[in-house]
């Protein structure tokens, strides 16, 4: 494991507080919406911190995988075209179409 010397130089309480702030801002960080000051401090203090980089990469990968669930247009598992069409017909009949 690699910890940056800048991070290691912080007292444990300040370090935990900073790490907590980073964790709470991770969505903003991976989406480029975090404040500039925080981005700069993350680069300085965690730029070569392996645990943080791995955490951020896997967090970003999770978001990307979740987004990909929405890319398909196939019917969900357990449904076929007949069930799908029946649902549509029932809705039509219910409103008198």
């Amino acid at each position: 494991m690699t910890t940056t010397s800048a991070l290691a130089a912080m007292d444990p309480e300040s370090r935990r507080r900073f790490c907590r702030e980073v964790l709470e801002s991770l969505s903003d960080l991976v989406e480029g919406e975090a404040p500039e000051d925080l981005c700069r401090r993350v680069d300085e203090l965690l730029g070569d911190c392996q645990p943080f980089q791995a955490f951020r990469n896997t967090f970003a990968a999770t978001v990307e995988l979740t987004r990909r669930l929405g890319h398909g247009e196939a019917l969900p598992r357990g449904f076929d075209e007949d069930i799908y069409r029946r649902c549509i017909e029932r809705a039509r009949r219910a409103v008198g179409e």
């Binding site: 494991m1 965690l46 669930l69 449904f79 649902c87 179409e97």
Partner: protein, 192 residues
């Protein structure tokens, strides 16, 4: 046909207009209902109810940019009503999903599995693990991550669909994503 043309065709009662609308949104609405409700029958009910409301209400909608948000607001409301009726007894409170303490300076290994598998079978397993992680989230978090990340609504649109504040949406989305990451990290540990 874009949403504006679709909406105008529906309001003019043009033949085939509603079929085109169902073609565009039907499968997504059904998948959303299934992910939210977990049961096939409930997903069918939500889908039908949403379509019925669309038949009755879409022609009155004036803003074409609001079609998707309107639809998912209706579907979300149907899903949450079902959940309230059939709420499971054992469900962790939202507070349990608050990010815990973390210290990246502590000697705890964090494995980087972000590259993902190349093999199709492994990709399918990972996909199933993610679906499992989604279904394990409390509905208040799941609905936000489904609308925001899976359906691609903006934070503002998600807030409008769920009648929540933007900051509540952002907080819930972040907690949901952290919980999903933890679930996938455990999946990768077991698979290693």
């Amino acid at each position: 046909m874009n949403d504006a043309e679709l909406l105008s065709a529906i309001s003019e009662n043009r033949p085939g207009a509603f079929d085109a609308f169902v073609d565009r949104y039907g499968r997504r609405l059904l998948a959303f209902g299934l992910r939210m409700c977990g049961q096939r029958e409930d997903a069918e009910d939500v889908f039908q109810e949403t379509l019925m409301k669309a038949y009755q209400g879409l022609e009155k909608l004036r803003d074409p940019g609001a079609v998707r948000t309107w639809l998912f607001r209706v579907a979300s409301s149907q899903c949450l009503m079902k959940r309230r009726k059939e709420r499971p007894e054992r469900e962790l409170p939202l507070e349990a999903y608050k990010p815990g303490g973390v210290d990246f300076g502590e000697p705890a290994a964090v494995v980087d599995w972000s590259d993902g598998p190349d093999d199709a079978a492994e990709q399918a397993e990972l996909h199933a693990a993610l679906e499992g992680a989604l279904s394990a989230l409390p509905p208040e978090l799941r609905i936000v991550v489904l609308l925001r990340d899976v359906e691609g609504l903006s934070t503002q649109e998600t807030a409008e669909a769920l009648e929540l504040g933007v900051s509540a949406v952002k907080m819930r989305l972040h907690r949901a994503r952290l919980a999903l990451r933890e679930h996938l990290a455990r999946y990768h540990e077991l698979a290693a």
